[in-house]
């Protein structure tokens, strides 16, 4: 659906130097996928998502949407493309002078849909979709942040796009509202088969709705893959520190060198990671029942990433070397990933 090949973006800074905002970006995003791009502020994620509808023109490289290189489009082609790619924004960017209904109507009206009755029906449908049927007559200033973003979503969907770009769409919202907006995005993704590309600095957002994630730092993608793989086995230091900063997933970034209990440890420190159905099976207790090994759970989480259950535990194992090796073999047999930390 979307392919980014060898994308570069350089700016000329005020002092005349060339600054690379994006370098060597390669990405492939599948149809119907929810793809997240996470990074700290200034990492280049905003520039990256804006190249997907050419609000930002890349300095080099290709952006293919449905096999077509959009950087080669003429202005007519670009107008047509942008109608197929919706976008929502951190600060909503609604037209303050228009009512909610007129905001949603605007992209239809302004892109040549002249049948007012058809447009009105579509607006009504969209208002219902985002749960704002009662608010069509209001002005944006009368709405809460979450409601404004719902208008933004309805407006972005008006022209029935195949792709929705979300530029920090929940960053200005409180956690509860964020969750409700994310649920709405996920519903839309499933109901309409819409491909969603989002950028965020919040891990929670990626965890809740993304299928795959790319971590961007210093204008480069440093790590990418399925969300569970990237977050449960973070490789790059930036990913690790992001994982470490979230309260959840503490075990994923656990560093024995900095842990308070490291000097009290007697046994072997092991991190277990399991993904999928195995999460809710009593495998651990079965393995331990037969083993001559003592276990202490030091840290851990059992939860889900999007709808994939996972568990991650930090254990101290005490016992003979042979017994411990036997436990490891059992874990492998049940596809529980283990990693000896110390």
């Amino acid at each position: 659906m979307i392919r980014i090949e060898n994308l570069h973006k350089t700016y000329r800074a005020a002092d005349g130097r060339e600054v690379a905002a994006l370098a060597d970006i390669e990405l492939e995003i599948g149809a119907g996928e929810v793809f997240g791009i996470i990074g700290r502020s200034g990492a280049g994620k905003s520039t990256l998502i804006r190249t997907l509808n050419l609000l930002e023109r890349p300095s080099a490289g290709r952006v293919l949407i449905d096999g077509e290189d959009i950087t080669q489009l003429d202005s007519e082609g670009l107008y047509a493309l942008r109608r197929r790619v919706g976008m929502i924004f951190q600060h909503f960017n609604l037209l303050n002078a228009k009512t909610v209904a007129d905001n949603i109507d605007w992209p239809l009206k302004a892109t040549g849909h002249s049948n007012a009755a058809e447009r009105a029906a579509r607006v009504k449908e969209l208002l219902a979709l985002v749960g704002l049927s009662e608010h069509g007559h209001k002005y944006p200033a009368q709405l809460s942040g979450g409601q404004k973003q719902r208008v933004g979503i309805a407006r972005a969907l008006a022209n029935r796009p195949q792709i929705l770009l979300c530029d920090e769409a929940t960053s200005a919202l409180d956690p509860e509202t964020t969750q409700s907006i994310l649920r709405l995005l996920l519903d839309i993704n499933r109901q309409l088969g819409l491909t969603i590309v989002l950028i965020t600095h919040e891990m929670q957002v990626i965890r809740t709705i993304c299928d795959r994630v790319a971590v961007i730092d210093g204008g480069r993608i440093v790590e990418s893959g399925k969300v569970a793989d990237v977050f449960l086995h973070p490789q790059h230091p930036v990913t690790r520190s992001m994982v470490a900063q979230s309260d959840a997933l503490a075990a994923a970034s656990f560093d024995p060198a900095h842990a308070y209990m490291s000097d009290k440890l007697r046994g072997t420190l092991v991190r277990l990671t399991y993904i999928g159905d195995v999460t809710y099976q009593p495998i651990l207790s079965r393995i331990m029942a037969g083993a001559k090994v003592q276990i202490t759970i030091l840290q851990g989480e059992v939860s889900s990433i999007k709808d994939v259950p996972f568990g991650q535990l930090l254990l101290e194992l005490e016992g003979g070397e042979e017994d411990i090796r036997e436990v490891f073999a059992e874990l492998d047999r049940h596809q529980i990933h283990h990693e000896v930390l110390q």
């Binding site: 609000l55 942008r82 109608r83 976008m87 924004f89 200033a141 972005a156 770009l165």
Partner: protein, 219 residues
Amino acid sequence: MDLSVIDWSDIWLATWETLVMTGVSLFFTILLGLPLGILLFVTAKRQLLEQGFVYTVLSFVVNVLRSVPFLILLIVMIPVTVILIGTSLGVEGAIPPLVVGTAPFFARLVENVLREVDRGVIEACQAMGIRTSRIIFGALLPEALPGLIAAVTVTAITLMSYAAMSGVIGGGGLGDLAIRFGYQRFQTEVMVITVALLVVLVQIIQYSGDRLVLYFTRK
């Protein structure tokens, strides 16, 4: 002060003339200044239709016109006014210099008002695949409406005081009356009444403008 010396019919006629001069030149000022202001805004750096050369030229012309003191412009414009409407005197004769004097001022105000419109909103429209001309007239101007009304208010008041000044070169209205009677014939009463009337007119314009701004503000 002896108000009995005042010929009220003269006063009302002059008031009417002032209103006509202000109203007609306001109309032409908006007609010229609004497109000029929009052009200044959209051709500026990093705007919708960035055109460095066009912007530089327009901006220079606007600055030149704005640097000529209005009293001088009144005199310089006399031959042009004669060509345009046949006379440089009276109510009609005052209108061309009034328009030339205030249109650039209004254009700058428009440019500034448009710059206040949230960039993100314009960007959102671009992201929807809407044509630039449509964005300007369907989103940019409606978003800027309260600011534009405020700019028109300020311009109307400037025009009114300029219109009074045009009395110096034989324009009509309250300014003309104040100069001929109040100044040249030492009728202080006329001077006081003219000034009082101008104060009242300015108050009315400002008040109405403020009310309109409030009415159209959705923030």
